[in-house]
């Protein structure tokens, strides 16, 4: 034997699924035009002060518990100083000497059955950087910067250097992705960078315990890239060792185009981040109440869940039974219900549309591409009369199929919702002609018949009319007040 056995450790950046950034009230979502989600705090303007997002703390604690970690009661924030244009303050707020959680493990299914435990070192909270768009080599015009993502909340999860092969590293990442997506910690959308990974790679001689210098490989943003980049890096190091060369301690960047890694910078030159505790932020105290809530959420037995769904959420026993058939269904339902604030509507949808999709994918929840919060938001729109149920169902099906966001799916399904103008007016006229009896009933004071007319408008619009607007216009046409 010689220096031959790969030793791999991963640092995984998980985007926490919050509405706002880690230290300011700017939206943390995606798809906004450049620099539409900024404020003095996340742009690092003078005098601005960071205030920590409670939900980010909750989700990080949830992740820590899901990974069997020990949560640090008093953790603290530090400044990591370096200069790069996508870092507006000249430092990143992160956690250094006292991270939010330490230790822990994740069980990773093995290809031949069974499971292996991957040991974890720590989890800490930190803010994301902005995005640089680089001009083409030799091109003029400089680099362009978008700070929408600057300050978005990340949990960085660090493994022990205990992964023995590129395949094992990729399997670990898949298992982590599944675990944290189910727990509602992250959207899991890889194409939006929900999980980003750096790896430390070296070779070890099991006989002597000697090892090569650690090489850091950056920019591993898909499961496939992780495996390819690490395979390339391991064989590069083996070749170097075989030819008698020294593997230098350095940072390399994976280029998906070439499938190879290339030197980004040499490690020995000034990797001094001058960490120090952030004077703007007192220690982060994770209280017993939050821990208890999140532990409870993790540990709740199905029978207890079923009772709670009945008593607290007012669901029929049948619904409660279906929704607690497994933890995934229950967790998904809860997240939908929390977002749309209507447990029965959430239950109806999960029992039909959602379970149908999951079944179509062989019961694999990881392949359901609609996050429960997104479905919850969709149902809230239905409840507010801004979207018909028919359109919402089509939108959900499309999202599940394509992984698109709701807005995109609505547009793809035939343009915007009809809520005013000539089109709605014409639809209302048609409905009144088609249902003269109902129109008469409404005029005679039987308000319930209005529902028949709204239904007629929705049918004629192919589900694209906004129910609320249709109702309002019908009332006006029938001589009632626009608002009920």
């Amino acid at each position: 034997m010689a220096l031959d056995v790969p030793v791999i450790g991963l640092e995984v950046h998980v985007q926490l699924r919050t509405r706002t950034k880690l230290f300011c009230g700017c939206g943390a979502g995606f798809g906004a035009p450049p620099n539409h989600l900024t404020c003095p705090v996340c742009l690092g303007l003078p005098g601005a002060l960071p205030v920590l997002n409670a939900e980010a703390v909750r989700l990080a604690v949830r992740a820590a518990l899901a990974l069997h970690m020990a949560v640090t009661p008093h953790s603290r924030f530090a400044r990591k100083n370096y200069f790069y244009p996508d870092l507006p303050k000249g430092y990143q707020i992160t956690q250094h000497d006292r991270p939010l959680a330490t230790g822990g493990w994740l069980e990773v299914p093995l290809p031949g059955g069974g499971a292996a435990r991957v040991a974890l070192a720590q989890l800490h909270l930190e803010e994301d950087s902005g995005k640089s768009l680089h001009a083409a080599a030799g091109g003029a015009g400089g680099s362009r910067l978008d700070f929408n993502r600057a300050g978005a909340p990340l949990a960085e999860i660090v493994t022990e250097p205990c992964l023995g092969s590129p395949e094992e590293a990729a399997d670990f990442l898949r298992a982590l992705h599944a675990r944290l997506t189910f727990a509602g910690v992250t959207t899991g959308r890889m194409e939006e960078g929900a999980l980003r990974c750096d790896a430390n790679v070296s070779l070890r001689d099991p006989a002597t315990g000697d090892g090569t210098e650690r090489v850091e490989v950056k920019n591993l943003n898909s499961f496939r890239f992780v495996e390819r980049a690490l395979a390339h890096e391991v064989s590069r190091q083996r070749e170097a060792v075989a030819s008698g060369a020294v593997v230098a301690r350095e940072t390399r960047l994976f280029d998906p185009g070439s499938g190879a890694t290339a030197v980004l910078r040499e490690k020995e030159t000034f990797e001094d981040y001058r960490y120090f505790p952030d004077p703007d932020l007192p220690p982060l105290v994770v209280g017993e109440a939050l821990l208890a809530q999140e532990r409870h959420r993790r540990d709740e037995a199905p029978e207890a869940l079923r009772t709670r769904f009945r008593t607290e959420m007012g669901l029929p026993d049948y619904d409660a039974g279906v929704l607690t058939q497994d933890r995934e269904t229950a967790a998904y339902f809860e997240a939908v219900a929390r977002r749309c604030a209507d447990p029965k509507a959430a239950s109806n949808w999960v029992m039909t549309e959602v379970l149908r999709q999951v079944k179509a994918h062989g019961g694999d929840w990881t392949r359901l591409r609609v996050h429960p919060e997104e479905l919850g938001a969709l149902l809230a729109q239905v409840a507010e009369g801004r979207l018909s149920t028919a359109l919402a169902k089509a939108v959900f099906a499309r999202m599940a199929e394509s992984g698109e966001e709701a807005g995109t799916a609505v547009r793809a399904l035939g343009g915007p919702v009809v809520r005013d103008g000539e089109t709605l007016s014409a639809l209302v006229d048609e409905a009144l002609r088609a249902q003269p009896r109902a129109a008469e009933d409404v005029r005679a004071g039987h308000g319930r018949a209005l529902g028949v007319l709204v239904g007629e408008v929705l049918r004629r619009s192919g589900g694209r009319a906004e129910p609320r607007a249709a109702r309002r216009l019908l009332r006006v046409r029938l001589g009632l007040d626009a608002e009920e």
Partner: protein
Amino acid sequence: MDEPVLSVAGFAALQRLARLRLSAEEAARLRPQLEAILGYVRRLEALDAESAEAGEEAAAPLRPDEPRPGLSPGEALAAAPDASEGFFRVPRVLKGPGA
């Protein structure tokens, strides 16, 4: 205790890290000032802070996860030395090999 708080080499390294280019006169003026600050911090380090800390730390205040309006893109870009098409613009940053 009598080792220098900030060596000449250490001061030069800090300049590089902070991307500062100081003239000899500026360096001669600033180094003693920085040494005085660090000397003060060194005195604070001598205090037994660990025992005073336990249980008495103020907890970081938490904010509900509610979006709040920030700056318009125009306001955000107003202070930028260079901007175009909604982006901040900086001199070309090299990325990848050769950086």
